[in-house]
């Protein structure tokens, strides 16, 4: 049974990678509303359920390890709750686990990704990753040139048919978060031409000392 601060792990795959963070928030709110999850609401003029998501996922990336924290006002059976909410979601967005939230999102320091590139060879990618990997990062304060290379932890490159798979651990500290889309831009910039087709899948989040986040 769960109650109080509760974590829901979910995946967001397939075409739902094109749904933005705000749309995801609305979708989750709707699904929980329909399945009558006893959510704690904010006080005030326009009450809304309290929902906190973990690391942002850029539009266009898939993930098997998204987390959403809610506050349950009543005790619920995890399995029944999961089933009820999933029935209100489509098959490309489903909750896989519900449990009491223990670790804090602030503990997240790294994220593991699978990139697949259609027209970069393993050798070319290897070469691209040598030395610096600069990209312009725009923010409200202006733009800065950023070297992404030091933020790539361990990685593996392997050929996958005609394609190249790039498996990498990227910094995901709140102050040092590497947007995987930005990494693709940086690779494109360094090789001097855009990638025809690529995919990004987030696999796992990590806390300090290589401990898996949950």
């Amino acid at each position: 049974m769960v109650s109080g601060k509760t974590r829901m792990k979910f995946f967001k795959i397939g075409k739902l990678k094109f749904i933005s963070h705000l749309d995801l928030l609305r979708t989750m709110k709707g699904a929980m509303g329909r399945s009558r999850v006893p959510l704690k609401y904010s006080e005030g003029f326009n009450p809304h359920p309290k929902m906190v998501f973990s690391l942002p996922l850029p539009v266009g990336a898939e993930s098997r390890c998204e987390y959403l924290d809610v506050i349950l006002t009543q005790e619920c059976d995890e399995e029944k709750l999961k089933e009820a909410i999933n029935a209100q979601l489509t098959k490309e967005l489903q909750i896989t686990e519900i449990y009491p939230a223990d670790m804090s999102f602030e503990e997240i320091v790294g994220a593991e990704y699978d990139f697949v590139f259609s027209d970069i060879s393993a050798e070319e990618l290897e070469k691209t990753l040598e030395g610096e990997l600069y990209i312009e990062k725009r923010s409200k304060k202006g733009s800065v040139m950023l070297d992404l290379r030091p933020k790539i932890g361990g990685y593996a490159i392997e050929r996958q048919g005609q394609k190249t798979r790039f498996h990498a651990l990227l910094g995901a500290d709140s102050g040092d978060f590497v947007n995987p889309e930005l990494l693709v831009r940086a690779i494109e910039k360094k090789r001097g031409k855009p990638v025809e087709y690529y995919s990004i899948l987030r696999l796992e989040l990590y806390a300090a000392n290589g401990r898996a986040f949950r």
């Binding site: 397939g14 739902l16 094109f18 933005s20 979601l89």
Partner: protein
Amino acid sequence: MNEKIEAILRKVSKPGRYIGGEYGEILKDKNSVNCRWAFCFPDTYEIGMSNLGMRILYGVLNEQPDVWCERCYAPWPDMAEKMREEQMPLWALESGDPLTSFDIVAFTLQYEQAFSNVLYMLELAGIPAKSCDRGEDWPILIAGGPATYNPEPVADFFDVFSIGEGEEALPEFSKLYIKMRKEENFSKENFLHEAAKIPGFYVPSLYTWSFKEDGTVASVTPKYDDIPRKISKRIVKDLDGVYYPTRPLIPYIETVHDRIMLETFRGCIRGCRFCQACMIYRPVREKSSETLARQAKILFENTGYDEISLTSLSISDYTQLFELTDKLLSWTEKEKVSISLPSQRVDAFTKELMERISSVRKSGLTFAPEAGTQRLRDAINKCVTEEDLLKACNVAFDYGKNTVKLYFMCGLPTETMEDIEGIAKLAESVVEAYYQNPNRPRMAPTVTVSVSCFIPKPFTPFQWEAQDDMETLEKKQAHLKSCIKNKHVRYTWHDARGSLVEAALAKGDRRLSKVLLRAHELGVKFDAWEEYFDFDKWMKAFEDCSVDIRFYANRVIGEDEILPWDIIDCGVDKRFLLSERHKAYRSETTGNCKEGCAGCGASKMGGNCTWCPGRPE
């Protein structure tokens, strides 16, 4: 999802518009159905998904096990460009199949500015625009919706039109298609001939139109004796019994109306003389508060939305409004659901009503006096007085509002500069009323005056009227601007140029099809969007086709002329429209249906009408 589409979606704005797969989407096995519809809305996903009519028809068509209806919306120009580059024809959201692989491609036409987008979508789909260029292998193209009450300007593009309400008509059309498809020697021509015999269906290729030298219609003749000379619109007689979608699709991305839409009644009792909706949706038929309360609850359970919008043309005229709101309030507050009432009339906006709707506390209030003086308001039969308006505003001020938006039209028949000045005066009296209200909030008021240009529409008493030419409209707009001196009054107005094109398309005949085609070739699209409306291209299209836009927009039509839309019977008699026109010139008003039957003629359509004489008790 294939890689090519994915690669494109990474490069366009709002990719969520093109992926489908929403909760509540209807999927079927295409091999087990006998009739596939691609239902197209010629505007963006966000607008199309908010259209109740399309949602009803999507649901009702899919109720039939052997029919699968899918959806398609107009891709934004950035998407269209990528699709052309990659040579990807326009597809329907559910199956991802190109429109060319469907049996029937349907368009709902809600406004004339969407006409050019029909051609834009057909081009993206790789479907020839003109029906005469589409042989047996092409899908059947059908259109419906309020902008098809005059189908003639788009007659060259569609094989058939469905006139009026579609809940019962479209399933009949599907059935006929399935039946005839099974027969040997199916031909489109035979099918369309048979379809033309179903009440409410107009097959434009089966009618010959001839024109006089002065450009007016000489005659219209059916090519067969067994098809009607005049097509009567379809209505649903019993709204309590008819299908209503209670398991709606829930979009991922934000759309215009992310809320429960509860349709309370169809038609309007008022009879404002400029209003097309009022006439074409008659007779007035209500849904009972029991049916609505039940559907609202189911809709809440199935959507989780936190707002219920009671839709109609004029909500305060719903006879069971208080019964319904009381039934809803018995559970909505607990569930944190608010009730909103769009389309409120000034003369019915009361404290009692205000207390029942929580949502007005959130948003601003909008009232539509439409004209600046009592004389002109009487002429257009908008039976609202200055006193009514100030009373309604005071109710709003009592409840802490300090902003009010007022809608007006300029260029109305019989309008003078005095009427224009009246708009400024009326706005000033609202400001004055604000400062005289002891309960007003401690903020400066803002009264927004929004002025659009009058567009004479088919099936209204003003259908014979000319639209003011652009110079006159612009002069009037400038004059009004100079009259507004109060710093609390904000003035916004519509572009007269867009209104000119809309007027021509609204009252056009089938000779406008070629102008539309030319405009499309020149790149016209998304006319309802300011950033895409291109007046110069439209003018060039008219010029290139040697068609005078003023003939359609700025000419007073003779009362004995055959009108392009005379082929359609909308229920309301032409004789009634004419007498209303004459009363307008005398600034004489006509009472609403509640006060007594004015004899518009719509009662002959039958149905459970709320006010028509001879209605079943």
